[in-house]
Every structure is written in C-alpha cells, then in structure tokens.
C-alpha cells in the first residue's frame, strides 16, 4: 500500500486506533516503516486540535506496542524517544499515550544508550506520577523496569541518582496492589545494582510506609493476597544492607505492637535480613534485636509468634556461624548467648512446668546452629539437666526426650572432645544406661543411647546385648518399640560383626517366654535383617525356627512376625532372602510335606512366599515354580482331598511374571475350576477361584483363555451354588481388570442378573464388594493387568441393579449399597440425585448391612465435603436422626451420628435451619445404652452447638 493510499484511509477513518492492526501488518511485511508512518501521521500529530493529536499519538503508541521488538533500528528508536519525550509536554490527555509509546520503545532490542537519560529527564520535568491513573502509573514503572533491565550499567555509572530519584518519587504513596507487586518484583534489583548513595534513606522511606502490610484482597484488583505483598516488600527491604540502620529500628518498633501480623512480619524480616546482609550491618543492633525478640520468645503469648521468634534468633546466630568474627562480633555473640542462657535458665528448674520443653527445644535449636553455640550453651545447661535427672526420677522421660536431640547435636559438633563439655557429657552415659532399665523411660533412654552410641565404652555396649531378651519381654516393649528398633538398626549398621555374634548367633527363645514375648523377641531379630551383611545370618536363624523340629514350638509365631516384617521391607532384602537363605523353596518344601490344618499359619506362609516370589526375576521364578508344582502334585497325591495345598499353591503362583509359562496351564485351570466349586473347605474354594482369576488375568494364549472361560461357564451352569457365584465373580473381576472386552461385559451382566434371584441373590449382591474392592492378589505387585477406569466399567451397569419394577428387593438394595460404597466418589456424585430415593429406601431397610453400607458411603462423601449433599440435607438429616435414635444396631447408630457430625462441618449458614431439630434429636442419643454411641452423640452435638 502506498503512502498516499494510507493517508487516504486515515483521512476517511473516524477513529485512527481502529486501523492499528492494519498498520502493524503493513510494518511487519516491510511495506511501511515507523518513520514513514510518522510522516503520514504528520497532519494529526501537528494538528492544533488536541483530539487529532491524541489520535495520532495513540495510533503510533499502539503500533509500537504491537510490532516485533527487533524491527526498529537504533536511530529510529532515538528519533521516536525524542518525539514521545516532547509529547510528554503536550496536553494531559496526550501524555498517557506518550508514556505508552515510551514503554514500548524501552522494550525494543535496539534501544539506544543515549535515550535513558533523555527519558528520565523528560519524566522528571513533565510528569507527576501521583496525578495519573493506575494504568498510566504502571506505564511509568514499566519504562523504569525496562531501563533497569536493558541499561543498568549505563544508569549505574552515568546517572544513578536521577534514575533512583525518578523511581522513588514516582512510587511514593502508590496505593494499587497490582502496581506495588510489579514494583516489588524489580525494586530489589534496582536497589542492589544502582548505587543508592545519599538516597538510601529516601528509598527506604518509600517502602517503610507499607510495613507491615495491612491489606484485604480485592477481586477487581487481581486477587493479590496480603502474603504476596508482604513477601515482595520483604525482598525490597533487605535488598541493600544500607537499609539496615533504618530497617532494624522499624522492626523493633513493630515488634512492640500487639498486632500479630506486625510481629510475624517483623520476625520474618529479621530471618531474611540475617541471611541477606553481612553481619557487620546487623552487629550495631544486636542488643536491640535481642530485647525485641526476647519479649515474644519465652514465655510468648502466641505459640506461632514464639516459634518464629526462635527461628529469627537461630538465623541471627547462623549469621555469626558463617562470618569471620572480629572482636566486636565476638562480643555481640557472647552477649547474645549469655542473654539467652540468663533468660531461659529459670524455666529449666522443673520438668513438669509448661515452659520446660519449649525452652529446651529452643536451646536445642540454638545448639544445632554451630559448634560455637553448642560449646557455649552445653556447659551451661548440662549440669542442670544432670541434676534434674538425678533428683526427678519420675520426670526422667520428659528430660531424656528433650535431651536426645541435644546429644545428637553434641556428637555432630564434636563437643565430646571439647574441654568444657566433655566432662558433663560423659556423666550422662551411666545415667542413660540406667534409664533403659526403667520401663517408664526406656523409649527416651534408647533415643539418647542411639545418639551417643559411638561414645559408649566397649564393655558397656557389649553388656547391652544381654539385656535385649529382657527388654523384648518387658511390658514397655510396645511403648519403646520405635526407639529400640532405631537403636538396634544403628547398632547393626555400625557394629555389624558384634551384632552377628552377640545377637543373631546367640538368639535363643527361652521356654519361659509367652506368645507375646516370643513375637517381640523375633521382631527384634527382624530389625537386623535389613542390613545386607546380616541378612543371611538372621534369615537363617528365622528359617531354622520354622523348619527345625526341635524349634517347632515357635513356628507359628515366626511365620506371623516374618509376614509383618516382609510387608514392610524392600525388594533387595526379599531377593537376598530367596537367593542366600532359600526362603520360598524351603518353606514350600516343608509345608507341602507337613501340611497343617491350621489355616492362619498356611495363609501367612502363602503370603510370605507370594511377597518373595513377586520380587524374583523370570529365571528364578521358573525354577521355583517347577519345584513348587512337583511338591504340590506329590502332596495332592498323598492326600485324598486338597485342603491347604491350594492356599500354598496360590502363594507360589500368584506373583509370577507374565512371561513365566505354566506347564499344562489348561489342565491346571480345569482342576482349579473343579476345586473352586467342589473343594471341601470354603478357604480352598476361594483360593482356587482367586488363583484361576490371576491365571486368566495374565494368560496370553487367547485359545486357552476362551477354552478356560467356556469350561468355567459350563461348570457354573451345571452347579448353581454360592461357590459357583463366587467363582463367576472372580472371573468377572479378572476379565474386567484385564480389559478383555466384550466377554467381560457378558460375565458382568450375568452376575448382575443373578442379584434379584431369590436363592443366590444375596450371594451375588455380596460379590459386588469383591468386584470393586482392591485385591492384593489381582494386583500390580503380582504383575497382573490392571486396566484404567475398571471401576467405571462396573459402575456403568448400576442400572441393571436398580431398574427393577416396584419395590427393590433386599439383594438389589445390598448390591447398590455395596456399589456406592466401593465406587470412586466422582462416579457416585454423578448419580446421587437419581439415587437419593433408593438411598433413603436403603436407610429405612431392616437389614443392618444395607443401612450400614449406605451410611458409610454417605459419611465418606460428607467427609470429602461434597456440595451436592448440602442440598440433600433435608432428605438425609431426619433419617440419620431417626436411625441414631431407634436403630437396634449399635454400629448403625454410631455411623448415623457420625454422618450428623460431618453435616455439622458444612457451611454454618446452610446448616442453621436444621440446628434446633438436630440438637433436640440428639438429646435422646445422649442417653443411649451404649457408651460408644453416647460418645458419637456428644461429638456430633458439640459440633452442632458451634454452628
């Protein structure tokens, strides 16, 4: 487009700004330059009518904002800057567009070095920032921000004071949070990179007026929070150490305020300042700071403020720990530490006083700062603590609890080698050793002992091994378990051979031990298994206690303890137990040969085997499977009816990887189908069905899979029974998890169609739980296929359960109740409005399991604060009250009261209409015959009184 054409278009346009996009496009294609545009706009820019000038300037500024920053050459920039600076002198309606233009120009890539001073001077001479609107002020800050980012070196050398003065005078009294947040984002850089010189006080003064920030977020102003502004301001206030002399007196003044926010912001500022400023700047004010902090530290009115005050104090001391200490700094540090000791000393006189523990916690934080603070504080407090331990034997636990972290720091900072601390610290050892003989403070005693383990003399440490069985058999074992296990673990780590000789090889269960004592003692042994050098030794001891005849009396206990331990340990240990100790193989060998009728024990053995098998690699699994199947076949051949063998087989085969082929899988699956329906015990039937489900889930051979499914379907049809319903449910779950469509939908529909059945309906309804509940057998740990959103697929069929005509049957209600209870909340929410009637009907059911399942579903939804339940309160609350008052089942009454309690946590305004009714209704429950129900009623009523 030619210049004449453009001029013609401009002349015909009522509003030039409408043409911005077209002009930008012309410039971007290179058909037009900015200088040419200025030339074309000449008649507007030089017009005597201010509105015409405004239109021209506005178009020019808008175009500059939109064109790429690389387009303008340096000379063009220079020219445009001069033009817009001149425009700042123009009418007040035109200067905002000039600012906009300057903001755009300062962002240009080729912005000239000569322009900043020109802009600064023009701003100083022509603009009063406070008289402008928020967007215009923002443009000024944007100009200053761009100048700082692009030309900070030039500004620092040539005209730092001019820049800073413009910035300070411009932002003075800025009231808008958006602008303030923008300013706070670059002020730290400005105050750091541009020398403040004589303007330091002024720079601080414009910020000081905002401290502490008092602000309520406003939606129209960007929802900026008080915290955003406070953190931004904090960064500015600590940006330059020159602020220290003004800032610290302000902090101290604000600390005297009764406003919590003032105290919190001041303390937070101290923490930030002590890590940002050189200690020399803080040093002149150390005393003043201490007196301010001391007032809120101990005893503080507010625990949150006291905690932050402690942090502030440790951060100041932290600054001392990293600085080179001059004489005056050493003096300040000594003053600070002396003052801390003298102010806290009085609170350490009695462990039962409320400030004893907070004081020791504070002192520990100070000790933990550096070796200097530790060496200073420890000799002052240790004698006192020692005396307290000797005098207040009944308070030893409290003292030792506070002492253990202090001892950890003392070891960390090598205070045990320091002349001033050594003497006191070693005096604690005999006392700590004595405390572990006392049931009341054994836990805290072990915590201290773990801290000073390396400082124990060899003979004292060796003597502890003899005490281990006694401690394991003591009543206090459960209360000190955590600390004791940490001690044994640290001992195993640091004195491995010693533990092997004195704990593992001498492990012997006395005939006098009772069941609990045996379990505890065995648990102690399992703590050592985690250490690679000890796994073999302790694993073999455990295995011997299972398979050796002379130790057989403890077998069941070992199995239970081992199962608990293996559930918590990691894969490396599991693999090691298999490869080094031969755990799964030996266990299977023993139990297949000596099959017991005791289900609990066999089930635990199966769980142990399954856990170990999961961790093995393919080759190891193949070898184990081959041996296991041979053992299984032999055992089956020796017994007429398979009983617990199936449970063991389940343990062996569930955790196999998909690539491990099972020989004659079809035959084995056929047997499992048979066992799952005809086996003598319920347990064996369930094990067989579950194992078949795991096989089906992992089977890659489609032919075999369809064959097995066909066989199962025929068997189920031929033998209608509760066990065939259960088998059907397990197969359905397996197929759904695998994502085997469409057969899985057919199986699911068949199962759901069975729910209204008068004979097996309740069995089918119970199986809904089985379908939806997480299952440790069909799991990822067992390398099964777990399809995404499988619960959604089951939930989709809920209509099959509720679309029956007339009054729903009990089995359908139970199935729906289970479906709602075990489905994800999001799914339940989708249908909750349609199901309200059904849920209310279920709540009125005389079957406890239905009512309870619905109540549990509702309570989990209420606990999640689901909003839709607020609108349904009118339907549910009266039913809950009725159930709480009249149900003959204690669990139902309790759960109904829990639901009422959870409703009490909803928005008070929504719940207020029900308050009177609920309080009156719950009055009756306060006199329930069962104490646990009364407790729930009190909890609910107390909550509703707060509405």
């Amino acid at each position: 487009m030619s210049a004449m054409d453009l001029l013609h278009i401009f002349r015909n346009s009522k509003d030039l700004t409408n043409l911005t996009d077209a002009v930008v496009a012309e410039i971007e294609t290179g058909d037009l330059t900015v200088l040419k545009l200025v030339e074309i706009l000449g008649p507007w820019l030089t017009n005597t009518d201010k509105n015409q000038r405004k239109q021209g300037t506005s178009l020019l500024a808008s175009v500059l904002k939109l064109i790429p920053t690389r387009l303008l050459q340096e000379k063009e920039c220079l020219f445009m800057v001069t033009f817009f600076c001149n425009r700042l002198q123009d009418h007040f309606t035109i200067s905002p567009y000039a600012l906009e233009g300057l903001a755009a120009l300062t962002a240009m890539d080729n912005f000239s070095d000569e322009s900043p001073i020109e802009i600064i001077k023009a701003l100083q001479e022509n603009i009063t920032c406070q008289a402008l609107t928020q967007p215009q002020r923002r443009d000024i800050y944007l100009i200053l921000y761009n100048l700082l980012n692009k030309k900070s070196k030039k500004i620092s050398t040539d005209f730092p004071s001019d820049y800073l003065y413009t910035l300070i005078s411009g932002m003075d009294s800025e009231p808008d949070p958006r602008n303030l947040l923008f300013l706070f984002s670059f002020l730290p850089k400005a105050f750091t990179e541009i020398p403040l010189k004589h303007l330091a006080e002024e720079a601080f003064a414009v910020l000081e007026c905002y401290f502490p920030v008092d602000f309520t977020p406003v939606e129209e102003k960007g929802n900026i929070t008080r915290k955003d502004l406070a953190r931004g301001l904090e960064a500015c206030l600590v940006a330059n150490p020159a602020f220290a002399e003004y800032c610290i007196p302000v902090i101290c003044d604000k600390m005297e305020s009764s406003l919590k926010v003032a105290q919190m912001d001041s303390l937070s500022l101290i923490i930030r300042a002590s890590s940002s400023w050189n200690l020399e700047f803080l040093n002149p004010f150390i005393k003043r700071l201490w007196y301010s902090i001391k007032d809120v530290l101990i005893p503080g009115n507010d625990p949150e403020v006291a905690l932050l005050a402690g942090e502030a104090l440790t951060s100041i001391l932290g600054a001392f720990s990293t600085a080179v200490l001059s004489e005056s700094l050493t003096e300040s540090l000594t003053f600070l530490l002396d003052s801390i000791i003298s102010s806290t000393h009085c609170y350490l006189s009695n462990p039962s006083l409320s400030l004893f523990l907070p004081t020791l916690r504070l002192l520990h934080n100070i000790i933990a700062v550096s070796s200097t603070t530790a060496v200073f504080i420890l000799p002052k407090i240790l004698p006192q603590l020692l005396a307290l331990l000797e005098v207040n034997s009944d308070q030893s636990d409290v003292i030792l609890k506070a002492l253990s972290p202090i001892l950890v720091s003392s070891v960390k900072f090598d205070c045990w080698e320091s002349d001033t601390c050594q003497e006191h610290l070693y005096k604690f050892i005999p006392i700590i050793l004595k405390t572990i003989e006392d049931d009341k403070c054994r836990g805290s005693g072990f915590a201290c002992l773990t801290a000073v383990l390396n400082k124990l003399p060899d003979d004292k440490r060796l003597s502890l091994y003899k005490a281990i069985p006694t401690i394991a058999c003591s009543e206090s074992f459960h209360s000190c378990r955590e600390e004791f296990s940490r001690f044994i673990r640290k001992l195993s780590e640091e004195y491995t051979l010693e533990v092997e000789t004195n704990l593992i090889y001498t492990f012997k269960i006395s005939e006098e031990f009772n069941a609990t004592e045996v379990k505890n003692y065995l648990e102690v042994l399992t703590w050592t298994v985690d250490y690679p050098l000890l796994t073999e030794a302790s694993g073999k001891v455990l295995l011997n206690h299972i398979i050796q005849k002379e130790l057989a009396s403890w077998r069941t206990h070992v199995i239970f303890v081992l199962r608990d331990y293996l559930n918590k340990t990691d894969v490396k240990v599991l693999k090691c137990l298999s490869s080094v100790c031969g755990f799964p193989e030996k266990l299977l060998h023993f139990y297949f040969q000596n099959i017991t009728e005791e289900y609990g024990e066999v089930e635990s053995v199966a769980a142990i085997v399954m856990r170990i098998v999961q961790s093995l690699d393919i080759e190891e699994q193949r070898t184990l499977l081959k041996t296991g199947l041979e053992l299984f076949d032999k055992s089956i051949a020796m017994n007429d009816s398979p009983c617990n063998q199936l449970v063991l087989l389940e343990g062996l085969a569930c955790g196999l990887r998909k690539d491990v082929e099972i020989e004659n899988c079809l035959h084995l699956s056929t047997c499992l189908i048979e066992y799952s329906i005809t086996a003598h015990s319920n347990v064996s039937q369930t094990s067989a069905a579950r194992l078949l489900a795991v096989f089906i889930n992992k089977l890659s051979n489609e032919y075999e899979l369809s064959k097995i499914l066909e066989l199962a379907r025929l068997k189920i049809k031929a033998n209608p029974s509760p066990s065939s319903v259960r088998l059907s449910a397990w197969i359905t779950k397996s197929l759904i998890l695998r994502g085997y469509y469409p057969p899985c939908d057919d199986w699911l529909v068949e199962l759901f169609n069975l729910v209204p059945d008068p004979v097996f309906g309740m069995n089918a309804a119970d199986c809904v739980c089985l379908l939806l509940k997480e299952c440790p057998y069909l799991s990822e740990a067992n390398h099964c296929n777990i399809g995404l959103l499988y619960k959604q697929r089951i939930f989709q069929k809920i209509n099959l359960l509720i679309s029956q005509d007339g009054k729903p049957k009990k089995s359908s209600s139970l199935a729906v109740a289970h479906m709602l209870k075990y489905s994800p909340t999001i799914l339940v929410l989708g249908v909750i409005n349609e199901l309200t009637g059904m849920m209310v009907h279920c709540l009125e059911s005389d079957d406890c399991s239905i009512t309870l399942a619905i109540l549990e579903t509702l309570s989990s939804l209420l606990e999640a604060g689901v909003e839709v339940l607020c609108t349904l309160a009118e339907s549910f609350i009266p039913r809950f009250i009725l159930l709480a008052q009249t149900s003959s089942y204690m669990a139902v009454r309790q759960e109904a009261l829990n639901c009422i309690y959870l409703y009490g946590k909803y928005d008070s305004m929504d719940m207020l209409p029900y308050k009177t009714k609920v309080l009156a209704g719950l009055q009756k429950c306060l006199d329930d015959k069962k104490r646990l129900v009364r407790q729930s009623a009190v909890k609910a009523r107390t909550r509703w009184f707060l509405i």
Binding site: K930, R931, Q935, F945, L946
Partner: protein
C-alpha cells in the same frame, strides 16, 4: 475475656491419661453401659484452658478423682482446681465445664460444678455463681462470653478419638 498478660506464665503440666480401652462388653449391643467417672472425665478433659493452648487435663484443673457419678439418683458432681488461687478465669473455666456437661449429658442428670475446696480465694462466690441456674442461663445469652466458651470447647472435638 483474656488479657494479654498471662496470669500464670509457667503452669505445671501433668501427664495425660491414655485413651479408654474398649472392652468386649462395650461392643456388645445387649449390655447397658452405665455412666461412670471416666466417661464424664472424657467429656471435659480436652476443654482448652482460656489462657494457654493446653487442656484442662494437662493443667490438672480437672481430674478423674474429683468426679462423682451417682447413676441411681441421677447426680453428677465435678470439682475443678484452678492452677493458682487468685485465678480470675476460674469462673469462666467453671462455666465452660458446666456448659459442656449440660450439652453432653442426658437431662435426667443433675449436674453440679464446684471449685475443689480450699483451692481458690473466692471459692464460695464462684460456687454460688456456677450453681445458680438463672445466672448460668443469663451468661449463655451473652454472645461474647458464649464465643469464648465455644472456643474453649471447640478443641474437644479435635482431640476426641472417633471410634
């Protein structure tokens, strides 16, 4: 209600008792559980002290040995012990205990809340105030007072284990 200056800066702390163990009888729906001292104690032990972030149990203001329950005559008496004899918050603490018991116990019980004999300078006056139904009812009409009491009671729920 409370001033910024603490009356008892460093009160003595006592150990909290363990959660009540649930017995087989309590889980049996057919057995009636009578009210006992421990049940009443559990209702008030976790009330917060108006001055400290500590419970009345930790400060030994309430103690199971100072609770008397008479199921036959429907009477409950609770004695509480202020941490210092001149504690000006004793009336507020007593009122809070009384309100919590009124809200949590069946109306058949006649509840009396008193100061343990000899533990407060104005024992008689406070006992008289706490025993006067009209004055307790009037205090409950005072919204500021009610808010303070509710703040002290609000912690009960946080520390009460839900069975």
């Amino acid at each position: 209600m409370t001033s910024n200056i603490l009356q008892n800066v460093n009160p003595k702390l006592f150990l909290k008792c363990d959660q009540r163990l649930i017995t087989d009888e309590e889980l049996n729906d057919d057995v009636r559980d009578l009210f006992d001292e421990r049940e009443v104690f559990d209702l008030i032990r976790n009330i917060n002290d108006p001055e400290h972030p500590l419970t009345l149990e930790e400060l030994h203001v309430v103690d199971i040995d100072n609770i008397m329950v008479d199921n036959d005559n429907n009477r409950i008496e609770v004695l509480f012990t202020p941490t210092i004899p001149h504690c000006s918050l004793a009336t507020l603490i007593g009122l809070t205990i009384r309100v919590q018991l009124l809200r949590s116990l069946p109306s058949r019980f006649k509840v009396r809340v008193k100061i343990s004999p000899g533990t407060h300078n104005s024992e008689n006056a406070i006992n008289k105030q706490l025993g006067d139904k009209e004055r307790v009812a009037a205090a409950m009409e005072n919204s500021t007072l009610l808010e303070t009491i509710n703040n002290c009671i609000a912690t009960v729920e946080k520390t009460t284990k839900q069975f």
